[in-house]
């Protein structure tokens, strides 16, 4: 039996969790921070400094960009459909925030094993994939609603990217699900951390495929054809200004948080780091201590951020060392290389699980 006071406190705690930590405010903070890390790393790779004079090493730069765009005049082109045009940034922001809510940053539900996100239910992996596809569809709509030629071309290209890279992305996620036998993000993370180290070999190819597909999903170089500046002037973003642009930029950054978080959760062991050291002090006592006390809230967050930052730097490096591909080359690469590789990988995983691992005696 719960007293009304308990219920109120629980409700308050949940509200705080959704809006402050690890909810909207924290995710926004992470988004701005990751944008800074990305810009800074990109600039350093290019022998530049990047943002430097706004806050410590320019750490407030993304925040300032966001605030400035909020304070700017909001223009809507005459030819555009007003309602849809205004709705698109909001929809994008909401979609990206909802997907980021699933990230297992801290343990919200200590009763269940594993680190749960704010939202977590059986089969949420499928739902997340659905959300990311919906995001791409929203981008396509954004281009069409702006009724600008560049925007429409950008939309068409986003559509092409969608049909080419969504499939390897999904196939890459099948492997962790297959290994753990679950479609729940937190369960997958938890089960993967308990598997034997030999399973790392099975995760390498999906990891590579997922990171490349993620780069395409986030529409960054070499896959940034849909808003290539020199070809079609920011593509589908061209007509957005002021608050709408701020929301779109924030949504993109949150998608970056989400993408890096997915890599962290599915391939890099989630918010666990010291638990992997095969000494009972760490793997049993420390894990138990962290999982049950408030220390976990800090520890899990920090580890999660650390791993995500590594992923961001890898993504940023990819952005640095490649030239932009032509859309034809991207589609060809996706269908001729990435999709077959993903399928072959699935077959290999099955073979390994059924034949090779039992022979080797891997549990």
């Amino acid at each position: 039996m719960q007293t009304p006071l308990d219920m109120t406190i629980q409700l308050l705690a949940q509200t705080l969790a959704v809006f402050v930590f690890p909810g909207i405010l924290f995710i926004t903070f992470l988004a701005l921070l990751w944008q800074w890390v990305d810009r800074k790393a990109h600039a350093r790779f290019q022998n530049r400094f990047g943002p430097l004079h706004t806050g410590w090493r320019g750490i407030l730069q993304p925040l300032m960009d966001f605030l400035k765009l909020l304070g700017k005049e909001d223009l809507t082109p005459k030819a555009a459909d007003r309602m849809s045009f205004a709705a698109v940034p909001v929809v994008m922001l909401v979609l990206s925030l909802v997907s980021a809510m699933f990230l297992p940053i801290v343990d919200m539900d200590p009763g269940t094993s594993g680190v749960q996100g704010i939202l977590s239910f059986e089969g949420d992996l499928v739902f997340l994939l659905f959300l990311s596809t919906l995001m791409a569809v929203t981008i396509v709509l954004a281009g069409y609603f702006s009724s600008n030629r560049y925007g429409q071309t950008g939309s068409a290209r986003t559509g092409m990217l969608l049909i080419s890279f969504e499939i390897p992305l999904i196939l890459a996620l099948v492997t962790p699900a297959l290994l753990t036998g679950s479609l729940r993000l937190s369960i997958i993370t938890h089960e993967l951390s308990k598997l034997s180290p030999a399973y790392i070999w099975l995760m390498i190819i999906p990891f590579i495929i997922y990171v490349i597909s993620l780069q395409a999903e986030l529409e960054r170089i070499p896959f940034d054809v849909s808003h290539a500046e020199v070809e079609i002037v920011h593509g589908w973003q061209v007509e957005f200004s002021g608050k709408k642009l701020a929301m779109i930029n924030l949504a993109e950054d949150i998608m970056l948080v989400f993408g890096a978080g997915m890599v962290t959760a599915l391939f890099l062991g989630g918010p666990l780091l010291l638990e992997f050291i095969p000494i009972p002090l760490f793997s049993v006592e420390f894990a138990g201590f962290v999982a049950t006390t408030w220390v976990g809230w800090i520890y899990y967050t920090l580890v999660f951020m650390f791993k995500s930052a590594l992923v961001i730097i890898v993504l940023s490096d990819m952005r640095t060392v490649f030239a932009r591909w032509r859309i034809g080359q991207i589609v060809r690469t996706a269908w001729k290389f990435m999709v077959p590789l993903a399928i072959i990988n699935l077959v290999l995983v099955q073979i390994a699980l059924t034949y090779i691992f039992p022979i080797l005696g891997v549990v």
Partner: protein
């Protein structure tokens, strides 16, 4: 669906304007590309936004003023315009300038070529979205910019030439400094050459793109690296040498860089190897520079004469046609910048390629609208264009639709 009912689905035609203000073009020019899906079927070039009536201003200026106006025709190849005008006036006055001045003038031309080609390389990297190489190549371009600033005192408009020689001398300390700089520059340019040729993502974007076959290039009078990338032997430095190019070509150490690929990759390779050749030329010029005065006095009033001064600018052959009339002002001054001849080949390059390749094809001729200073319209279709009023067009369209009813 049976085969009889099968229809070929043609994507809708969209006209995409590139310019006059577009991130791919740092200068005002307009290209109307008609695309079907991603493929360009039609291209119209329209450049007139940069018409600044330089020739008219020049007729009211003295020759010495025009020298500085000429370098303001273009910021990237300012030394070539400036030097070519100076040599045109000297030809007209039949004045012989000192040997050292010739060498310094040629050295500035070659340094200008190095900086322009590295600039182009960076822009080409930028057009295919390879921003890192863009940043790095422009960083190393600063080496040659520093050299130019060291010699002439300005980064962009060097204005080194005056009528009858050059304005500034090169000291031994500067020479040593430059020789040291060339070593570093050569190493870096060789690195960019390897990047351009061996980096897969870049090479795939330029290989086989924007084909310009040699007969078409001949027909459209392509000049400069655009022509040399298609295998045409057009290089004024070798065909019609002036200044210190005469002793330089007599040594026989240097050869014209040609490529018979004919695509954007060919032009890129020509430009990069030409940069290395230009570094060698600059080194030769510095090492063999004679001593002596740098300036000869030429009377401001130039005898009546007409001159066609040719020079190989970084982008191709540059022409200054100068008619003098005995006063200190020109009677007629005509500038033909290299880009002007290359527009004609552009439409041919663009047609049939992908929209994504349009920026790199446009960049491949290294367009310089400010040099061109004129309007050009290139007809994308093979048919001739005609002027039709909007009403007539509507009537014609209606008639066409009556004749060709939509098949269901």
């Amino acid at each position: 669906m049976t085969s009889a009912n099968k229809r070929i689905v043609i994507p809708p035609r969209v006209t995409i304007p590139i310019g006059p203000q577009h991130p791919a073009l740092k200068e005002p020019g307009m290209f109307k590309l008609t695309v079907e899906g991603e493929r360009i079927v039609d291209a119209v070039v329209n450049i007139g936004y940069n018409h600044r009536s330089i020739e008219k201003i020049g007729e009211n200026n003295t020759h010495l003023q025009n020298l500085y106006l000429a370098s303001r025709i273009c910021g990237i190849c300012s030394a070539t315009h400036n030097g070519n005008y100076a040599q045109a006036v000297e030809f007209a006055a039949e004045a012989e300038i000192p040997e050292r001045a010739k060498f310094i003038r040629t050295l500035i031309w070659e340094l200008d070529r190095i900086h322009s080609h590295i600039l182009w390389l960076g822009v080409a990297f930028h057009e295919v979205g390879f921003d890192t190489a863009f940043m790095l190549s422009w960083r190393d371009r600063e080496i040659v910019m520093d050299m130019l600033e060291n010699i002439s005192g300005n980064r962009i408009h060097h204005d080194m030439n005056t009528i009858g020689g050059v304005r500034r001398n090169i000291s031994d300390a500067q020479k040593e400094q430059m020789l040291k700089g060339f070593d570093k520059l050569e190493e870096r340019v060789a690195f960019y050459r390897d990047v351009a040729i061996h980096e897969k993502t870049f090479w795939n974007r330029v290989d086989g793109v924007g084909m310009l076959e040699a007969p078409v290039a001949k027909k459209t009078s392509a000049v400069g690296p655009t022509g040399r990338g298609s295998g045409l032997k057009v290089d004024v430095r070798f065909n019609d040498p002036t200044q210190a190019y005469i002793p330089m070509m007599d040594t026989g150490d240097f050869e014209m860089i040609l490529s018979d690929r004919g695509d954007v990759a060919g032009r890129a390779v020509v430009r990069v190897i030409e940069t290395i050749e230009a570094i060698n030329m600059s080194r030769w010029l510095l090492n063999n520079m004679p001593d002596g005065p740098i300036r000869e006095r030429v009377r401001p009033r130039i005898q009546p004469n007409e001159v066609l001064a040719r020079h190989e600018a970084p982008r191709g052959e540059l022409i200054h046609y100068l008619v003098t009339n005995g006063t200190n002002k020109p009677d007629r001054w005509k500038v033909r910048a290299p880009t002007y001849n290359n527009w004609t080949s552009m439409a041919h390059c663009l047609r049939g390629d992908y929209l994504a390749d349009a920026p790199i094809i446009l960049a491949a001729i290294d367009p310089c609208y400010s040099c061109t200073d004129r309007v050009v319209i290139v007809d994308g279709n093979d048919e001739t264009m005609r002027l039709v009023s909007l009403d007539n067009l509507r009537i014609e369209n209606n008639m066409w639709h009556k004749e060709h009813p939509r098949r269901e």
